[in-house]
Symmetry: C2
Subunit: 405 residues, 2 copies
Amino acid sequence: MVPRTAATQDDLRRHNRARLLRRLHEGGAASRSDLVAFSGLNRSTVGVLVSELAEVGLVTEVAGSAGQVGRPSLMVQPAADSAVVLAFDLRVERTVVALVGLGGNVLVRKEQRHKRTSYTPHAALRNVVTLTEQMLRQAPAQASWVGIGIGVPGIVDHADSRVRLAPNLGWADVPFGDMVRESLGAQYGFIPTVAISNDADLGAVAEHVRGVGARNRNLIYVSGEVGIGGGIIIDGRPMAGAGGYGGEVGHMVVNPEGVTCRCGAQGCWETEIGRDAILAAAGLGGDQVEVADVIAAASSGNRKAQAAIDAAGEWLGIGLANLVNLFNPEVIVLGGHLRLMFPLVSGTVFRRIHYALPATREQVRVEVPALMGDSTLLGAAETAFEDLLSDPIDVLSRSHHAVAS
Amino acid sequence: MVPRTAATQDDLRRHNRARLLRRLHEGGAASRSDLVAFSGLNRSTVGVLVSELAEVGLVTEVAGSAGQVGRPSLMVQPAADSAVVLAFDLRVERTVVALVGLGGNVLVRKEQRHKRTSYTPHAALRNVVTLTEQMLRQAPAQASWVGIGIGVPGIVDHADSRVRLAPNLGWADVPFGDMVRESLGAQYGFIPTVAISNDADLGAVAEHVRGVGARNRNLIYVSGEVGIGGGIIIDGRPMAGAGGYGGEVGHMVVNPEGVTCRCGAQGCWETEIGRDAILAAAGLGGDQVEVADVIAAASSGNRKAQAAIDAAGEWLGIGLANLVNLFNPEVIVLGGHLRLMFPLVSGTVFRRIHYALPATREQVRVEVPALMGDSTLLGAAETAFEDLLSDPIDVLSRSHHAVAS
């Protein structure tokens, strides 16, 4: 086994301060008593830590109510205007960006369409730099810019923020993290945290921190975009695997007699429930057609569209049953077009999940994302806050005062 | 997100003491300098913690050599005769038991055959109690008996040590942990740690701590017994899932056109690479025939046996490719009859794994267990030591002096 991390006196103080800030960021305002109960620390230690966080502006104390009769107690809350991050969701045909404050509030959000074919890494980089500038101009005065989180529809190496493969963007082996760091470093004379992640991994993080899985320690997010992506939370932590590539659910072979996938294997889950499979089965195609159109056609009685959705529902259920047996999650979240499809095929899906072992199937529920289409975007914000939340005072002191620039 | 655990001054000291003992238990003897380097603690703190552990007898300091020229340095080593556990591997047709000392040395090991049909939960309990008595009689004088770990070929609820289902033993919903605790409590007036686990989960633990995955943080152990079991280590920790049922790889559907599995689903991995599938395809059967016989027949030119092994090899590869894409492990360990089969089908297996995404397949290796047939047994010992390793002095003081009884 690999050594566990060291724990000294200093680490302990830093660790406890970080825990309190994370609790406030993820769970919202809390009284000092709440924080005592949450942390297991004594009241005076909590007081000191809260004061330290307040001194640097990360939290404020305001009169609130603990929900009981009597005089209102002071509530500690994260200061949304103290630290901000930029979150990007780089999709195949659209870029979404948000300026997000500590505590997870979206302060500004913007969406831009682009042509898939012309969205090269350099085009995307220019896009990120321009939007960063625009967003930071709208940041609160005195806010420190602590990070930037970016979701991409591809496989990302966690060690060096390199996009190994994003087939639907046509990217292969792109050091996108370094590109962003260099451009922003040159422009601002300061390099914030830059986190590049797979889009479905971020969907899982957001739904776990702020969505339908907020009370669960084991969650699987399955995204239906052009491809089928997966993000997996195990015992409260994102599952990465050896290189950060875990969770490639779309390339689980479910039908060895099926068609050849663009990955080279035969009968991947993606070849049965991905966008192209559904459009082809419905006899539809073209750049402007979406799974939503097939669903609309099916709902209005189009037999071929209905058959396409039904077939995809069967395969969706078969694959989900596998995930239930393999991971024993409390919740599976269906994003992208799977979210739209699910209401039409839930009966089929549950019938298939019923074939999972009783012990595992009894514990799982299937949900659509609470954050709807913004799971990836908000997950990107969480990864951008990660360094601050691990060591608040140190990271804040190194950060850029966005508005002052 | 669920609160992280509290960290106070006391926790810190306990935590550091536990880390040092775990390091010695898992990694073997080390000099104080090694422990300083390992822990990040200063020399005097390490000295105090080692003295505390030595005082209760858990470690000893002996003259050793750090491998350099010069006077030998003192080595701290775990005292195998200070704390012992009992480890059981309850198989379908055989019980294996071992008395294991701190540091992982097998002090005594014994194997007993039994009839599958008569191995009811109560028969197994009597077996465990009798063997416990025999083993403890052979324990070193002054050794404290700190726990008992038991592996079963079934699904175990981690919360209450209940065997939910062990189909090949014919057990359903058996509170085996409570049964063992009550019997031993009545007999010894003391209840040690009792850990009941799935056999493949224990195989994964043992190969991770002391076997082919000792340097890896992500490992999958696939056991081929009558059924196909799986144990999964993610980022250094066993993956449990919501109820401890994760890792049921045998019921991953790989062939939807395949035969019906005893779980009710069609085309589970187990129906293609489990013992019965291989025996049936080879045209062999009966209680006395094993996959080893098919392998022997295939090796000596029996065409039907060869075809059966080849077909199983293809399906083995398809399922492993799925696991590689889903989990991105550094190592997959093949136990049971898969261990015996692997040399004959490795070419096929690697050809199939080649269909996994490049990013994931490049990082994985496939191995046979370093601990051979004893992975489950030694994993059971590790789970029995877990409480002691989490809080050495406290747990030791509550433990039974086995030999004194």
